[in-house]
Amino acid sequence: MPGKVHVTTTINGESVEFLCEPRQTILEVLRDQLDLTGTKEGCSNGNCGACSILVNGEVIDSCLMMGVEAEGQELLTIEGVASTDGLHPLQQKFLEHAALQCGICTPGFIVAAKALLDQESNPSEERIRLYLAGNLCRCTGYDKIVRAVQDAASEMAE
């Protein structure tokens, strides 16, 4: 096993350095080394979206990205979505619309939906469904999630 690699990256607006083995995913680094456990692991092969994070504003499954690939990138995890001013509108609308049940998929959905709303101010229901199709939720049937995203988009557009 080769030695550990030194990585310098930006996570949630802060400069972060870590050492990781080449075989470690960024998901493992986030969760097990950096204590950012809000990003969840559901399948470890890119099928469920529970581990969604943003890399330079694009949503990715962090289980499919190696830790060393974070070098020089800007990462955003669920821990960086709320600000000192309070919850992000998506987080607030997820609460108001009861868009979570067990909550394990919720960080991934909020991060993915944030990527959408950062790019498009008024996505249609179809567009939201297409964009979030990489995130599995087994509890809600998606109805309240889609409504929460629609409502957050409206509020952010105001």
């Binding site: 083995e21 075989r23 969760r31 097990d32 204590d35 950012l36 456990t37 809000g38 990003t39 969840k40 692991e41 559901g42 399948c43 470890s44 092969n45 099928n47 469920c48 529970a50 995890t77 669920i78 821990e79 979505v81 709320a82 919850l87 987080q91 997820f94 609460l95 108001e96 619309h97 009861a98 979570l100 049940q101 067990c102 909550g103 394990i104 998929c105 919720t106 960080p107 909020i110 229901e125 939201i128 469904r129 297409l130 979030l132 199709a133 990489g134 995130n135 599995l136 939720c137 087994r138 509890c139 809600t140 049937g141 998606y142 109805d143 309240k144 999630i145 889609v146 409504r147």
Partner: protein, 764 residues
């Protein structure tokens, strides 16, 4: 303490019940701070991994762990030899039961592996990668045996036996005959032969349903610390901390008081997180190493070795008379148990004909071993399979009679006083109200048009359960109440429980601080399952509030120097009966020190007044006749909640049940190859619905109060998964004229059915 149910039934001016507060644990869950089992980290923690069988059915000839033990970083390796022996003893798990000898052999295989992925050994190492390397270094020599993968194969006389000592219990008696059939039971009502003889016509069909998984997004996990004082702590994702404590203590052969189970937040369960898998392994690895050991399953392990719920073979036959009344029904229900006994034909049999008043019924149920993981509950376990059969036949009867399927249901509806084939007589139920609500819905009134489009209807029933719950609550000096309860919260139950306490005390839901406690910190509480949590643990919280109320009446009496009999409490205010003095709950809470000290309420319940739940689904679909793909255009779920304490999350249960039911109907199945190896153990290939597969899911909450609960609660979690498979099948028939009798109704199956209908010429 007596509960005056009648005082509360029919009350509609609730202040808290029926409102939509933000759930207490919500913020933690939207910011990523909620702590799930896999989020645990501890000083010195080791990581565990499991060696699993590459065969569906094999004898273990030898296990060589020496190479793994020699790997740097490996701290312990265990096999079944490290688990204390267990005798045959049936343990009630709250939803389902397990024989401890079998539970042990499921946790780690004992001489034989019975399914692909069956655990054979476990290791602990300094990191997960080393643990996984060690797994690959363990040599297991197998003698491969012929697998048995369907109930039909397993029931054949010369079928290979999974458990050599298994005999059939038939109609309550052990036959002594060696067989894969563990159980045969029968329910009889009236005279079914006479009933069929009187029928104007009879419809009979056979149905096959695939094995499916609960599909929770959070894999099973367990972390254990076996302390030097022999106190064992287990942190895990479970629907029931107390059943995990009981099972783990039994498997480790220690008293329950030696085990403390800390239920972490749970990322979905649906019945699949009741039985233990990893907990005793982590505990023994911890004992051997003196360090905490964390184990988290991969998704492949989840699909190979946990859950699933039973596939089934069902023969169903129903007859109607000239007046369009159901006169007789028969069902033969053979359900997979998986590798060990215990399956879901029994609850399926309680549900299969439940929505109807049928005077003559015969049901034969069989639970059958097959080389698949030991089946677990899955949201109304057994009932979806059953309703797929009976509700398809009902649809066919309606077609022949040329009657509206909802009118037919009304005309044949089970109601208060109707006897179910398995014995119970229904108390007040909301079956007819659900059908009437469907009939008057905008969805049903809207004509569906378009080529290859169809509408389907199906009903469903689930009986719900009561079981044990405990709660304790302390009054804070600022007028809030801290509530401690034992039901893990999978979908907003902290709040639905807290609301029932708040209603009694006349405070806001937000003024209650609910928390889920570990097994050392609250009285016994059964699983979050059986649609029981808001019903039973909510009842405990209600009783807690009554306890607090009585104590605070004493305090007010003391303050005013009058008799407690002269103090009344209404809407959050205590008053003297002459109305000369009043004090609010909040004010009195601030005066506890001067009136005698802290006030706590406590309650334990084991309620019997369970109210069964009915549901009706209306679904519009379109079939792509080129590909066989079925698209869901519109769907409505109508369900009797009794009383919807927390409507946002009642709707959520309904919508989630519909989504799972549609996945079961159209896509989901365990695909085993001929060697019994699971070919689709990933979430790419085990295809659950995404948000692109579903429309908005309309919900109609019907409220026919359950006379057995102080607020009329029935329980809402399970019944919405019962109608979808049949409703979709009936819609497919309406759209393209083919009767689908196998689940899932995947594109290939729909195409095959269309080709057969069109004379097998290969085109639709």
């Amino acid at each position: 303490m007596a509960t005056k149910t009648e005082d509360y039934l029919g009350i509609t001016d609730y202040k808290v019940i029926g409102t939509r507060p933000i759930r207490h644990d919500g913020v933690d869950k939207v910011v990523g701070r909620a702590r799930y089992g896999a989020d645990i980290d501890m000083a010195g923690m080791l990581h565990g991994a499991v060696v699993r069988s590459p065969h569906a059915h094999a004898r273990i000839k030898s296990i060589d762990t020496s190479k793994a033990e020699a790997l740097s970083g490996v701290k312990a390796v265990i096999t079944v030899e490290d688990l204390p022996l267990q005798e045959d003893k049936i343990e009630d798990l709250g939803e389902g039961a397990a024989n401890l000898r079998h539970l042990r052999a499921n946790v780690l295989a004992d001489g034989k592996v019975l399914y692909h992925g069956h655990a054979v050994a476990a290791v602990a190492a300094t990191d997960i990668h080393t643990a996984q390397e060690a797994v690959d270094l363990i040599d297991v020599e197998y003698e491969v045996l012929q697998p048995v993968l369907t109930v039909q194969e397993a029931m054949e006389e010369d079928a290979p036996l999974l458990l050599e000592d298994q005999t059939t219990e038939s109609l309550g008696e052990d036959t002594g005959e060696k067989s894969n059939v563990c159980t045969h039971f029968r329910h009889e009502l009236g005279d079914v032969e006479k009933g069929f003889a009187e029928a104007e016509f009879v419809i009979e069909r056979e149905f096959d349903t695939a094995t499916v998984h609960q599909g929770y997004i959070e894999p099973q996990n367990a972390t254990a610390l076996w302390g030097a004082d022999d106190q064992i702590t287990v942190w895990c994702s479970t629907q029931g901390a107390f059943t995990v404590r009981e099972q783990t203590a039994q498997i480790l052969d220690v008293p329950v008081s030696q085990v403390k189970v800390v239920p972490m937040e749970i990322g979905g369960g649906f019945g699949g997180k009741i039985r233990i898998y990893l907990e005793p392994l982590a505990a023994i690895l911890s004992r051997q190493t003196g360090r905490p050991v964390k184990m988290v399953m991969s998704r492949t392990e989840v699909l190979q070795a946990t859950g699933p719920t039973a596939g089934s073979f069902i023969k169903c036959k129903m007859g109607v008379d000239k007046a369009g009344k159901l006169v007789a029904a028969y069902a033969y229900m053979a359900y997979e148990s998986g590798g060990f006994p215990g399956s879901w034909a029994a609850p399926g049999a309680m549900c299969i004909f439940a929505p109807y008043n049928i005077p003559n019924v015969l049901i034969d149920g069989y639970e059958v071993l097959v080389n698949k993981p030991q089946t677990m509950a899955y949201r109304a376990p057994g009932a979806t399979n059953a309703a797929f059969a009976s509700e398809t036949i009902i649809d066919e009867i309606c077609e022949q009679l040329v009657v509206d399927p909802l009118e037919f249901r009304l005309n044949n509806s089970a109601r208060e006083g109707t006897r179910r084939a398995d014995g119970p007589v229904f108390p007040r139920i909301g079956n007819e109200e659900c059908v009437k609500t469907a009939l008057s819905s905008e969805h049903y009134a809207t004509q569906l048009s378009g080529k290859n489009r169809g509408r389907g209807i199906a009903s469903g029933f689930w009986f719900n359960v009561g079981l044990k719950s405990s709660a304790a609550a302390s009054v804070n000096s600022d007028g809030t109440v801290s509530l401690v309860e034992g039901s893990t919260d999978i979908g907003g139950t902290r709040t639905s429980i807290a609301m029932q306490l708040a209603e009694v005390l006349g405070i806001r839901a937000e003024d209650v601080k609910p928390q889920v406690a570990d097994t050392d910190s609250i009285g016994e509480t059964d699983v979050t399952g059986g649609s029981r949590t808001t019903f039973a643990t909510g009842w405990a919280a209600y009783q807690c509030a009554l306890d607090i109320k009585e104590q605070l009446i004493e305090r007010a009496a003391k303050l005013w120097e009058i008799s407690a009999d002269d103090v009344v409490f209404d809407d959050g205010t205590f008053s003297s009966s002459d109305s000369s003095k009043t004090i609010s709950f909040k004010e009195l809470a601030g005066m506890l020190d001067e009136t005698g000290g802290p006030v706590m309420g406590r309650a334990t319940v084991n309620p019997s007044g369970v109210g069964g739940a009915f549901a009706v689904m209306v679904v519009d679909i379109e079939v792509d006749t080129e590909t066989g793909k079925v698209e869901i255009l519109r769907v409505s779920m109508i369900q009797d909640a009794g009383k919807a304490v927390y409507p946002s999350y009642v709707e959520g249960q309904m919508q989630g049940g519909v989504a799972q039911g549609i996945g079961w109907a159209l896509n989901e199945e365990y695909a085993y190859n001929g060697d019994g190896l699971l070919a689709n153990a990933s979430l790419l290939d085990y295809r659950m619905p995404t948000c692109l597969d579903l429309p908005m899911i309309e919900t109609h909450i019907v409220e026919v109060p359950n006379p057995g609960h102080p607020y009329g609660v029935r329980g809402v979690g399970e019944v919405p998964i019962v109608p979808p498979a049949a409703a979709v099948a009936n819609a497919i028939y309406d759209a393209v004229g083919v009767r689908m009798t196998n689940l899932p109704m995947s594109p290939g199956e729909v195409l095959k059915a269309l080709w057969t209908k069109n004379g097998g010429n290969g085109t639709a």
